[in-house]
């Protein structure tokens, strides 16, 4: 049963994508670690971390694609799940600082000492333990998605309304995390990390492993997402997107279907956030900004929603473009991004990958039709010929 589930996932394109991702995941760190810095092949650590960041964004876009591309839920709050995963990781990294902080308090992170807190708040307990923190990376975003989705999907909030309240959700979290008394470092967030599992987060080796982990998690999530959308469940999902009431009248519990997908997607976003934080070295409330979540939607739309691979490509392309533009022509970046939004919705509604796929499909259909025509045409001509005689 499970093997069937996984086996179905490994359709040609997915295998190829996973292969490429893993190759990158091994090759880039190898070029970083094994070549001398002056070699032409050498990849500097900052470039590797930059690409690692893109891979995390790609995973976030993949997560969004699962709910938006397949289930029709346009979440404008996926940045919140990403940020929560990031905070869970950040809390672990904070606890690892131990007494190396500015104030040297072995238990309390610096910002708590600064705020004159005397003891660790209860929700920080356990985060010094890696396994617990990693479980929380999944559980916290998953739980938020579950509670939110439980209410929203039962009362059949959908379409635009759902988008707007997901946006309100991330906005409320943004405001909340800005508050110092929330206990998450206020608007400075969590930073100044020292090490992860005993390895320095600054070290090239650690960075290389983090990069590889990003590629690996992205591959695994891609396989999982592919398995989901290629199962019967995935077909139901598309049904929900295209004709929700039909699915209901066929006897499916649409709210459970949406809830499951939403939670899985939120967890993927959480993983992305958790891998993101040690590579960029900071997590702050800015990650909750509604604009961030909307940007994820663009990556997905550019790459092609409902294609799984598209969002990955979209995230990497758009963020690559962003890094380039903000470095070279900072003025132009917002024009470019805004223009991209408009252009994609107007001229490329299926996104890059979707358009290519569509082209292939159309060619195939054309060929098939031509062949059928030829076959029928053959018999017809025979028939005509006979009739003529």
């Amino acid at each position: 049963m499970i093997s069937g589930f996984v086996f179905r996932a490994l359709e040609g394109r997915i295998v190829a994508a996973v292969g490429i991702l893993l190759a990158i995941g091994i090759l880039v760190p190898a070029l970083n670690l094994l070549t001398p810095p002056d070699s032409a092949l050498h990849i500097p650590t900052y470039v590797m971390s930059l690409f690692g960041k893109y891979l995390c964004y790609a995973l976030l876009a993949l997560a969004l694609d699962l709910v938006w591309g397949y289930c029709g839920i346009l979440s404008l709050g996926h940045g919140a799940f990403f940020a929560l995963g990031g905070y869970a990781m950040g809390m672990y990294l904070m606890r690892q600082i131990g007494s190396r902080g500015v104030y040297g308090n072995p238990i309390l992170p610096d910002f708590m000492v600064f705020l004159n807190w005397k003891e660790l708040p209860w929700f920080w307990y356990g985060f010094d333990w890696f396994v617990f923190a990693m479980v929380m990376v999944l559980v916290v975003p998953g739980l938020l998605a579950f509670v939110f989705g439980w209410f929203a999907f039962r009362s059949r909030v959908n379409g635009v309304y759902l988008s707007i309240i997901t946006q309100a959700m991330t906005y409320a979290l943004l405001l909340a995390f800005f508050r110092n008394d929330m206990g998450f470092g206020g608007n400075n967030g969590l930073t100044d990390f020292k090490d992860i599992l005993g390895f320095s987060v600054q070290a090239d080796g650690t960075r290389a492993v983090l990069f590889f982990m990003s590629a690996l998690m992205l591959s695994l999530c891609l396989i999982l997402a592919s398995a989901i959308v290629r199962s019967k469940f995935g077909k139901v999902l598309v049904g929900v997107r295209d004709a929700e009431s039909r699915v209901r009248f066929l006897g499916f519990r649409v709210e459970n279907i949406k809830l499951f997908t939403f939670v899985v997607s939120a967890m993927m976003a959480g993983i992305a956030g958790a891998l993101f934080v040690p590579q960029v070295g900071i997590i702050n409330p800015g990650e909750f900004a509604p604009a961030n979540s909307i940007e994820v939607v663009v990556w997905t739309a550019v790459g092609g929603r409902g294609t799984l691979i598209g969002p990955i490509i979209g995230a990497i392309l758009v963020n690559g473009g962003k890094s380039f533009f903000t470095g070279a022509f900072p003025e132009i970046w917002l024009f470019a991004l805004g223009g991209l939004f408009i252009a994609v919705t107007l001229f490329l509604p299926k996104g890059i990958v979707g358009t290519i796929q569509h082209g292939f499909k159309a060619r195939k259909a054309l060929k098939a039709a031509a062949e059928a025509e030829k076959g029928r045409g053959g018999t017809e001509t025979v028939a005509q010929a006979q009739a003529a005689e």
């Binding site: 049963m1 069937g4 077909k235 049904g239 004709a243 009248f249 066929l250 006897g251 519990r253 459970n256």
Partner: protein
């Protein structure tokens, strides 16, 4: 009183005094209506008579303001939602054909198949030989075996209607509600649909809403005429179509 309790004993679907209003507009007005097991019933009535609204009530899409809706004499449908009602065995074809356009004909039927519909059951579902045979059987019935790999979006209007009926068959309902199945069909297709519905009705109850009198005649079954949210007349097609109230309200126009 006596007769009502008798009908209650053996009815498949039982509506009594059902009323519903939208912003003060009474779409259904003390509607009472009974379907026996195995019955094929036709419903006619002018636009806005409340035919579709009645189906909405039966399938849990709309809640009645007052009245009783029972399935198999015991199950109160007003307390169940669409998915529950579908699982109880009530299938519905919408007035506007609704199929999964981005799925193939085959996938449409596979989704409709009456199998466990839970999240994990569908995640790990694999097509068994019986299911395959069942889908092929339905494809035969709706005459689409050669189009099974076609995307539903590419089907004609009439073919979508048929596919939707096929999906209902796959659902194996005890009661089938069919809203205007022959709208937009050619005469030949209409005749074929009548045959198909009669065929289907051999093994289950069917309620058909139609405006096409020729089609109703072809079905040759008991007819209920609704107007302004309640039953105007009920009986054979000849009886109903000669009823002066029906002529005035519906046919005469």
């Amino acid at each position: 009183m006596n007769t009502i309790s008798e009908t209650r004993q053996k009815s498949l679907l039982y509506l009594e005094n059902v009323s519903v209003s939208f912003d003060g507009f009474k779409a259904l007005n003390s509607l009472s209506f009974v379907v026996e097991p195995g019955e094929l019933r036709a419903i006619i009535g002018p636009n806005g008579a409340g035919k579709t609204t009645m189906m909405d009530i039966i399938t849990g899409k709309t809640r009645p303001d007052t009245g009783t809706v029972l399935f198999e004499d015991t199950i109160d449908l007003t307390r169940q939602d669409e998915a529950d009602i579908a699982q109880l065995g009530i299938g519905r074809k919408f007035q506007k054909p609704t199929v999964f356009e981005s799925h193939t004909v085959w996938d449409n039927l596979e989704l409709a198949l009456n199998r466990s519909r839970g999240v994990f059951a569908t995640l790990f579902y694999t097509l068994s030989p019986e299911d395959k045979a069942r889908i092929e059987e339905i494809l035969e019935t709706i005459r689409m075996i050669h189009r099974k790999d076609e995307y539903a979006a590419n089907l004609s209007h009439g073919q979508k209607q048929w596919l939707e009926i096929g999906m209902l068959l796959a659902q194996e309902p005890k009661l089938l509600l069919v809203d205007e199945p022959v709208a937009g069909m050619t005469d030949a297709e209409t005749a074929e649909t009548a045959v198909l519905l009669k065929e289907i009705a051999k093994t289950r109850s069917v309620v058909v809403v139609e405006h096409d009198m020729g089609f109703i005649r072809e079905l040759g079954v008991k007819v209920t005429c609704l107007a302004e949210g309640s039953v105007l007349a009920e009986g054979s097609i000849d009886f109903v179509s000669n009823d002066p109230k029906v002529i005035e309200n519906y046919l005469g126009r």
